[in-house]
């Protein structure tokens, strides 16, 4: 993949991830990004699946989730193109080893994969400003094979009004309706696709 890959995340994928983090304020959460290559240098993040909000460092639930998710999205012409992580503590901006390891695993199958970290300070500041930029930090794996924080201009949300919609959902406590893979494993009738979320 050439030097300056750009990442464009669709509104619904973006909102799902943030709402998931807000639903589980007292723990770390993570999710996968689904998408495709678009043109020579852009990765389109079309959808996301919120994964877990407990014991994120354990393999079995992650392995099952990845198999199922890949199975579902391959049919739709999308593949796993990245990973999202939100830390447990508000002021923790470190990329944990768990996040890096999962990111590494995803990179093996998807070179140029993106690692997104929730930026709590930006999230907190959202109601005050008119920032249209996503409240996430972008990490990519460069040739040195380690995850590096990359300029925020390389991550954009496709729909410019995404943050306005997000704020709306936050005030209406929409996060209550988010289902993640943890919820599904606890009760398989729950839909980790969140197909009814934005109806």
């Amino acid at each position: 993949m050439g030097g300056e890959t750009k990442y464009e995340i669709h509104q619904n994928a973006y909102i799902k991830l943030v709402l998931h983090a807000l639903k589980h304020k007292t723990s770390a959460v993570n999710g996968v990004l689904l998408g495709r290559l678009s043109g020579d240098d852009t990765v389109e993040i079309v959808d996301s699946v919120p994964l877990f909000h407990s014991q994120i460092g354990l393999l079995p639930p992650l392995e099952i989730a990845l198999i199922m998710i890949e199975e579902y999205y391959n049919d739709k012409g999308l593949s796993i193109v990245g990973y999202f992580h939100a830390n447990e503590r508000f002021d923790d901006f470190e990329l944990s080893n768990v996040a890096k390891n999962i990111g590494d695993h995803i990179s093996k199958y998807s070179p140029g994969a993106a690692l997104l970290l929730l930026d709590n300070k930006k999230l907190e500041a959202l109601p005050k400003g008119k920032d249209g930029n996503p409240v996430m930090q972008l990490y990519t794996k460069d040739t040195s094979r380690s995850w590096k924080l990359v300029g925020s201009d390389r991550l954009t949300v496709k729909e410019p009004s995404a943050n306005v919609i997000l704020l709306d959902f936050i005030s209406s406590k929409k996060w209550k309706d988010i289902t993640d893979f943890d919820d599904h494993l606890d009760d398989i009738s729950k839909d980790w696709l969140n197909s009814d979320l934005f109806n």
């Binding site: 007292t26 770390a28 407990s54 014991q55 994120i56 460092g57 354990l58 393999l59 079995p60 639930p61 392995e63 099952i64 198999i67 199922m68 199975e71 579902y72 447990e88 503590r89 002021d91 923790d92 944990s96 080893n97 768990v98 390891n101 494993l185 606890d186 398989i188 009738s189 839909d191």
Partner: protein
């Protein structure tokens, strides 16, 4: 740690109160009993009782327990004015009380005045060195400040004295997992299983950790603990059923070519697979084909 029925009960009560059907006091007592963390609802419902003089006096002596419960919930929601006000009320009613002193120290913690909170907790410990809640608050403070090594050290010291405290073992295990210190996490779950061998959650978490550690021996042990989880939950635990399938596939990978245990291995896996298929067909038909594909890929991998 709550059972599914207990959780459903709490959720039902919660929506009942939310929709104006009453039962706030019942809800608050249940949350306190089950040690759940639902601070936004506790705050909301608690205030509705405490701000109404009629409702308040109807509580009798329980009024003060409610003040304490809501004060803590207020701190969790960063409504520090409410927390301060209620702490003052309790100070007036119980001057010199250590229990209220603890609340004051927690308030300092909630404000982020770490040094002052630490001083307050240390002085409480001088008077009562066996105050479990204060010990645990100090570990929580270390974690909140991002000093995870200190949190681990505090919890370990605490558990040397109070080795029967399940919550502490579980918290320590989860911290270890988040740091990928799986061997140490396994030790915690071993302690939990030894003290409470009939709680399936501990068997399940132990199996998950062993699987994550990897290696043939760990995988075989993990499989045993997924099996015991299935036993303890009457086959209803989806995670354990998946665990069996994952273990069998992984063990198969590692022992390719070696012919032992083939029959036993595959029998347990096919039983689990059948159970999963039946479950998905019944409760989530739309995901059934995904499940079948997943199981297929595990059998072949």
């Amino acid at each position: 740690m709550v059972s599914k029925t207990e959780e459903e009960q709490v959720n039902r009560l919660e929506s009942q109160v939310e929709n104006g059907g009453g039962g706030a006091w019942e809800y608050l007592c249940l949350v306190r009993k089950l040690k759940l963390r639902r601070s936004d609802k506790v705050l909301k419902f608690g205030l509705s009782i405490l701000n109404d003089p009629k409702k308040r006096s109807a509580l009798g002596p329980e009024e003060w327990t409610l003040y304490e419960e809501v004060a803590v919930a207020a701190m969790d929601c960063q409504c520090l004015d409410v927390a301060k006000e209620f702490t003052k009320v309790l100070q007036k009613k119980f001057p010199g009380s250590k229990r209220v002193g603890r609340l004051e120290a927690m308030l300092l913690e909630a404000k982020g005045s770490w040094a002052e909170a630490e001083k307050a907790y240390m002085s409480l410990l001088e008077d009562n060195p066996l105050d479990q809640i204060v010990h645990k608050r100090r570990a929580a403070m270390a974690k909140a400040q991002g000093n995870i090594p200190l949190a681990i050290e505090s919890l370990n010291k605490y558990l040397e004295i109070f080795m029967a405290d399940q919550d502490a073992w579980r918290e320590l295990a989860e911290i270890y997992v988040s740091l990928q210190m799986y061997k140490q996490a396994a030790f915690c779950y071993e302690e939990l299983i030894l003290s409470q061998p009939t709680i399936p959650l501990f068997h399940l978490s132990y199996a998950d950790v062993l699987y994550t550690l990897g290696g043939l021996e760990n995988l075989q042990t993990a499989k045993k603990y997924y099996a015991s989880t299935i036993d303890l939950t009457g086959g209803k635990n989806t995670r354990a059923l998946f665990g069996i399938c994952l273990c069998t596939a992984a063990i198969g990978q590692l022992t390719k070519g070696r012919n032992k245990e083939d029959k036993e291995n595959s029998q347990l896996q096919s039983l689990s697979a059948v159970a999963l298929e039946k479950d998905y067909k019944q409760r989530n038909q739309s995901k059934h084909s995904l499940l079948t594909a997943t199981l297929k890929s595990l059998k072949l991998s």
